[in-house]
Symmetry: C2
Subunit: 219 residues, 2 copies
């Protein structure tokens, strides 16, 4: 599929705007684990995921992580172009969770078009509102949900993304998604195992009882 069919408001752009985007467009293929954008680097540009999976997270001074949102096929990432808007006063890191193919639209080009085009500006608004909703959901999780429920929800989410109950994931990675510590996650998973909800082996968490995990998540 072509960029034109991926870009959401393509039919609202005039010829000059279309050419401006196409001439600046960069195609990238990145391996799983690549950090595509981090707050201290230059303004990377808007990322449009053709295929693969990205993760946006924040880092504490001590190097702890928490996942803010994830991006899948056809998703667009705005905060890798945060220089575009002066009111974006925070920094995210974006990493490929799988081998990923993506387009990069340089921030300056997108900014110029957004300033003159109401459809592009409104699309950007919807995009930001979507991420805002993700982040508000995250605050609710952190504030009101206990960690056992969050771990249960995370495992179920992973199983749904990966379409398997045998998750190749380390306790460290789960901790980094949830903003927790490895030791805490290990303790929680061992408890899940003792309750026959999962089976643990090196580098793998196998979900044995989806129903029980769902019940825990919704409790």
């Amino acid at each position: 599929m072509s960029f034109e069919s991926f870009f959401p408001v393509w039919d609202k752009l005039n010829t000059i705007q279309r050419n401006r985007i196409l001439s600046g467009l960069i195609t990238r293929q990145v391996k799983k684990g690549t950090v595509i954008h981090n707050g201290s680097m230059d303004c990377t540009g808007l990322l449009l995921v053709k295929s693969g999976q990205l993760r946006a997270y924040i880092l504490s001074e001590e190097g702890r992580e928490i996942t803010i949102y994830r991006l899948f096929d056809m998703d667009m990432c705005l905060f890798s172009a945060s220089c575009m808007m002066r009111s974006i006063q925070f920094e995210v890191t974006i990493e490929a969770e799988k081998d990923t193919e993506l387009w990069v639209i340089p921030a300056e080009i997108y900014k110029t078009i957004m300033e003159e085009s109401a459809p592009v500006a409104n699309y950007t608004n919807e995009l930001m509102a979507t991420r805002f909703s993700d982040v508000m959901w995250l605050i609710e999780q952190i504030m009101w949900k206990s960690l056992d429920k969050r771990v249960a929800a995370f495992l179920l989410e992973e199983a749904s993304i990966e379409e398997t109950n045998e998750l190749k994931i380390t306790h460290e990675t789960i901790a980094n998604h949830l903003g927790s510590h490895r030791e805490v996650i290990t303790r929680m998973l061992r408890y899940f195992q003792s309750e026959d909800m999962v089976k643990l082996s090196r580098g793998t968490v196998t979900i044995l009882d989806e129903k029980k995990l769902e019940a825990l998540q919704d409790a």
Copy 2:
């Protein structure tokens, strides 16, 4: 001062758009403590604060609160018009923290203008990015900062807003701002008192040692 001088992109609107806003505009005066908007109510509209102070917060099912951001003179509130954008999938409650005078722009009117006007859409983007930055700051606080630092920071912020070190505020209110429990806040404030940072009396927290609170906040 008139609405025209408060509304940020007024000079970018045409006569039809200006008249549409002015004809729909509502002026409201609300007493301290009034809930102006809550998620389950109809779409209230955009709020523009003429004078006073508003607080936006979320509520857990059990009735716990946490402050998301606060609005002061000339600030605009978008999420009281969340029906305007389908991607806003969360609910905030907005309450007057002081007697407040404000304008309400009906959501339908703002939406129509935003859809056709790139400057209004881009202004809305900046507004959302500002709140997004507030919320990202909040996540960092919740995730990486211990409660003593957050209470110290909150007291200093209050003193700066109120321009006094004698804060008329209950432990319950502090807990509701920070998403904590009254008992926990009381224990923390008593510790602050034992360290001569504050003095406690009924309904009042007096800051005695600003420097020490600042040092704690930044530690």
